[in-house]
Amino acid sequence: MLNMVPSAFKIIRDENKCIQCKVCVKQCANLVHYYDEEKDIVRADDTKCVCCHRCVVLCPTKALTIINYPLDYRQNANWTKNYMDDIYRQAQSGGVLLASMGNPKPFPVYWDKMLLNASQVTNPSIDPLREPMETKVLIGRKPEKLEYDKKGKLATKMPPQVELKIPIMFSAMSYGSISRNAHESLARAAEELGICYNTGEGGLNKDFYKYGKNTIVQVASGRFGVYKDYLNAGAAVEIKIGQGAKPGIGGHLPGEKVDEDVSGTRMIPLGSDAISPAPHHDIYSIEDLRQLIFSLKEATAYKKPIFVKIAAVHNSAAIASGIARAGADAIVIDGFRGGTGAAPARIRDNVGIPIELALASIDQRLREEGIRNEVSLIAAGSIRNSADVIKAVALGADAVYIASAALIAMGCHMCHSCSVGKCNWGIATQVPELVRRLNPDIMYKRLVNLVSAWNHEIQEILGGMGINAIDSLRGNKLMLRGIDLNEKELEVLGIKHAGE
């Protein structure tokens, strides 16, 4: 059938710079570049390009430029290029459109509409180079109060906590959706940083059990790789109910990505599709969730906090309250801009709500019910920099999860093509020669650098506010002011407008 979808990108090769070294040919798994032996020249097939920049970055003479394909449709504010191209695709394939990474649509980014405070005159800012500046947090259920016995000894027994030196964790990305080397980089970085990474729903490779105290093991609807040792291998167990990129639906790892190692880790036959159902088939209501939470607590002898992760949807606040009362130790809220290896495009782009609004309303709701202090709140779904982390904490988060940012640190260029499995950066692929491109010895260091850099920035910002422990920023909404927001948005966020 005729392909009516025009190329997305155009590759421009500067012939004066190109030395026909063929690095681009070797690097492109999408087979965009090819060598014309007859004419001794390297050429490109634009139609296959996903704009991952692998060739651009590795070209020794910087001869390559990639631009959006300059092909205009007749101007139409309603029938835009995207919607028309989608129709061509579906008319051709008859299938659901797949997309990867987070929602790219121009919805408001509330992080960018909030400004931070700093001390002037009436109280001093604190210099993190000269004074202690604490960013450690403890994630887990807290009792309502501590009690002392008559001898003055602490009588209350503390539930298990996960200690994070920096309030940032690497969010769930399964082994299968990302490569073994990417997983190893995340695990080693988490260990060095004193934080945690998350296995995602793909189980945990035996070789990585040694990073257990820096690992959150996930239990999702497919229950891949879940058994007693797995549950006890990590610092905490996370029940994944939903994901910001695709609330309400499950996951699908195509059989071609299920090689021997992935199959062993997931405990599924070699080459079989790994399909996670949309719901957990043992959770059809909140009381069922409670049973799963306590089954997992039993299985881990009440030594591991149990997280419950939900996508940010309209009724998140009430759902979160239910989860807290169901016995979860921490609630993870994943906003609609969170990334994914693959999701139906219509769902990714239209279902769910921004993390900022969901977080603020959940925090407020739990406070109104007097139970906020008992659970930890973890925000996820496109935390892009240290200022986003600070703003999330001020809106009420105990910690945040980052995933897209971590992938970008490892080389991801946001080409949105993870589902194809031909990631030129060796991240979202299981092709051995592509996976080899990602060197864990180097990439773990880049992750450590990124999070350490953010932590320095967090400390600077905290000090500027006159705060020397991140505890005093949590839920401290006076440190935030809105800009360019309407009354309702300010009300939901629970903040004042700049100038007020």
Binding site: N123, P132, E134, K142, A469, L478
Partner: protein, 366 residues
């Protein structure tokens, strides 16, 4: 212009406190002298005092000091008081004419005992303190134009808009005798002009005078509000008072644990401790992380067992302590102590987060 409680007003200040551990009562003259020396640390927009042991003849009654803006609200509040308390004695608090003290509200004092036999109170198993504090919170929240600024037993707070020495003169504090005095001169960066906004802030026997601007305010406020408090004044002092009330009175934590919570040791120091101490400190920080007070402050807290002085954990505000016999002095400046007691046994500058706790040697005669 919005008044205190409708907006948040940062302010700098001076504080001073005197306690006699043998409960020997002295008149208010010395504390007025001491706070007057630090005149430049306040700007005439607020001054106040707390005095313990001033009402021995009414020591079993809660002494409610109330500002009224008009007669009609006074009648409404008195109707409420009559319903919830037996009023032993009522009258206006005697004052002197002082030229600089203007726009004064009606200032009344009631010695009361809760009508705890009320059915609903019994059902909810409330004790006298809880009942009284809930009534005080209700008046301050729901009776617009009335403000209870003191509600303890055998103690009282006296405050208003003006320099502290003028407020002391106005309330004739030279005629009161107390075994503990605290004083406060205020330097707000905005003009509230409202008497309720001055310090000390009190809740039952707790009184707090405070110098500083805490940067953890909203975290602390949202934490105590989960436990039924209502921070109607939006001041640091109010929220610190509620933190003490919550931790020590309601949750029954020992005072020193409450201090460990509010001026938590640093994680690095905790890591160096023995395992059992480490575990305890970690638990305190984890459970009460929202009760950590951050930013500059020095506070004096008066309570039934004595006086507490405390600095923030990196000492961003001045605080000096001194001792002479059984009397302990604390103030923002050493000169404010030397003026009233030149011949001291000991003077020191407490470290950040390290409390000065002066407790009475003897239980009060019941």
């Amino acid at each position: 212009m919005l008044r205190e409680g409708e907006l948040r007003i940062p302010s700098g200040c001076s504080i001073s406190g005197i306690i006699n551990k043998d409960r020997k009562r002295i008149s208010g003259e010395n504390i007025i002298k001491s706070i007057a020396l630090m005149h430049d640390r306040s700007n005439g927009l607020g001054g106040g005092f707390a005095a313990y042991g001033i009402y021995p003849q009414y020591k079993d009654f809660y002494a409610l000091h109330i500002f009224y803006e008009g007669l009609s609200i006074k009648m409404k509040v008195e109707e409420f008081l009559d319903k919830h308390f037996e009023i032993e004695s009522a009258g206006n608090i005697p004052t002197r004419v002082v030229a600089s003290i203007i726009n004064k509200p009606m200032i009344w004092r009631y010695f009361v005992r809760p009508r705890i036999y009320l059915e609903n109170a019994k059902e909810r198993q409330m004790d006298e303190d809880e009942f009284t504090s809930q009534c005080v919170i209700k008046i301050n929240k729901d009776f617009n134009g009335a403000y209870v600024f003191s509600s303890g037993k055998n103690m009282g707070s006296f405050k208003g808009v003006g320099y502290p020495e003028d407020i002391g003169d106005f309330f004739m504090l030279d005629t009161y005798k107390a075994y503990t005095w605290t004083a406060h001169g205020r330097f707000p960066t905005n003009t509230p002009g409202w008497w309720g906004g001055a310090h000390p802030f009190t809740m039952l026997d707790w009184s707090v005078v405070h110098n500083g601007e805490i940067s953890s305010y909203d975290t602390n406020r949202r934490f105590v509000e989960m436990f039924g408090y209502n921070c109607s004044l939006q001041t640091d002092t109010e929220v610190i008072t509620y933190l003490f009330d919550l931790l020590v009175r309601k949750q029954k934590l020992p005072l020193e644990k409450a201090i460990t919570i509010m001026c938590a040791p640093f994680w690095d120091d905790i890591e160096r401790e023995y395992d059992d101490i480490k575990m305890e400190l970690k638990s305190l920080r984890a459970v009460y992380s929202s009760a950590l007070i951050n930013g500059p402050f020095s506070i004096l807290v008066g309570f039934e067992k004595g006086l507490l002085a405390l600095n923030d954990r990196i000492k961003l505000r001045s605080l000096v302590a001194a001792q002479k016999g059984e009397t302990v002095y604390v103030a923002s400046e050493e000169s404010a102590i030397r003026l009233i007691c030149p011949d001291l046994d000991k003077v020191w500058s407490p470290k950040g987060g390290e409390p000065v706790i002066a407790l009475y040697n003897n239980e009060e005669e019941k």
